[in-house]
Symmetry: C2
Subunit: 221 residues, 2 copies
DNA sequence: GCAAGTCTGTTGTAATTCCAACGTAACGGA
DNA sequence: TCCGTTACGTTGGAATTACAACAGACTTGC
């Protein structure tokens, strides 16, 4: 395997597992390495999810499309993050979402059974791995809850302020950048891009915030 | 402890654990039993989440309120279900939601540390418990994703059809009942109750579906 | 039986959003 | 430089929703 371990070591999946332990563990998990060009499909909706991914580099997005073709970004995945693991461990029959590369990306795939079934070589790590997975999935759960909180607001303005306030809080600063362009942010919040742009303009004119491209700053009241 | 074990045995948390193993395991987990009257608060927003709940009887709801008092039901919890476990295992500092009893209810609370830290008496069950938790949290994750799928539709009609179709699929029949009254369904879907009632009336008049109280039936095209 | 409260469906109006179309700016390649 | 592409902002009309108010059906308690 000719990929860098740096993203792997930082991944929350291997929290509490030293670098020396990582290599033999990986050998036992039998990961499969893949590369994807920007725009390529990483996992197709309808597949039977047996393996989850660890993103090594680039960016992938979890996307849901309804039967009218309306796109909805459920989450964006960065290096070190897992994806599709909830569908593996909930034993879903068909993947209800798609995974697409938002940039040239590298990923490692691990079979769910390899993690949860005992194995002579890695038994010592299994409970730690599963606990890490539990923590990761719980965090994602909370993030989904946050998204629901944003999108359940009634107006575009309230959705924007809810989202931007949360981002400012995460960044620990009133100035921060967001990982979306306008269209992606509109998809995430479930609103119309043009209406959102207009609302952003009004908020700027009212002095509530300022922005330049993906950089925002919330002003004090 | 003077409560019935029936809901406990059925809980997915104890999948793969026999009844004989359950009693000593429970003794080690040191659960705390509580009763709640309908409408009572089970967990308050802002609490530090150190213990998760198993509902024994009744019904509780996970509720989020914004600063304008708009209520949003994130999920409804029935006997055997866990609640608040994602906040415990994501090590959140403050509970971002409230838990309220939708009916007279009984619940068992278990400290998160008791499950994940090794213990002489129950080590044999820990990996199974944690795996069960992983599965449960993954399923909830998928359910949240489903809710997002419903609420991200643009119109009330599409939200209703998306939700009702999913319920029919779960029930394995075109006739089914839903666990919400109209106000709760409107809260869940993030729409206005009266507008939703009107849309349901139109769908009935068009022959798309029929309903009586919480019982629905989807008609063929 | 009666009263109070709850749940549901209906309606009209005001407010908001969606949608399509267009103009501008920035960027990269031929 | 010219052209094509992409991202962003703006606008006006059509469609949808929120909101408030009300009426009827149904409980629940007295």
């Amino acid at each position: 395997m000719n990929f860098s371990f740096s993203s792997l070591k930082r991944s929350a999946l291997f929290n509490g597992i030293s670098e020396g332990e990582l290599k033999p563990l990986l050998a036992c998990l039998a990961p499969v390495f893949s590369r994807y060009q920007k725009g390529a499909s990483v996992l197709l909706p309808g597949e039977t999810p047996t393996r989850f991914g660890i993103l090594l580099s680039g960016e992938v997005r979890i996307v849901k499309e309804d039967y009218f073709g309306n796109r909805c970004i459920l989450s964006s995945v960065g290096p070190g993050d897992l994806f599709a693991e909830t569908f593996v461990f909930s034993e879903a029959k068909a993947l209800p979402v798609g995974v697409v590369a938002a940039a040239d990306s590298e990923a490692l795939f691990i079979d769910g059974h390899r993690v949860v079934s005992p194995c002579k070589n890695t038994c010592a790590y299994h409970s730690r791995l599963i606990f890490n997975l539990l923590s990761i999935v719980s965090v994602k759960n909370v993030e989904l809850t946050e998204k629901i909180e944003h999108t359940s607001r009634k107006t575009t303005r309230e959705k924007l302020l809810s989202y931007l306030s949360a981002q400012a809080e995460k960044a620990g600063s009133s100035a921060f950048t967001i990982p979306f362009d306008r269209q992606a942010l509109a998809d995430y919040l479930g609103v119309e891009r043009s209406a959102m742009s207009a609302e952003l303009g009004r908020l700027r004119d009212e002095g509530v915030l300022s922005f330049h491209k993906n950089a925002f700053e919330l002003k004090k009241n």
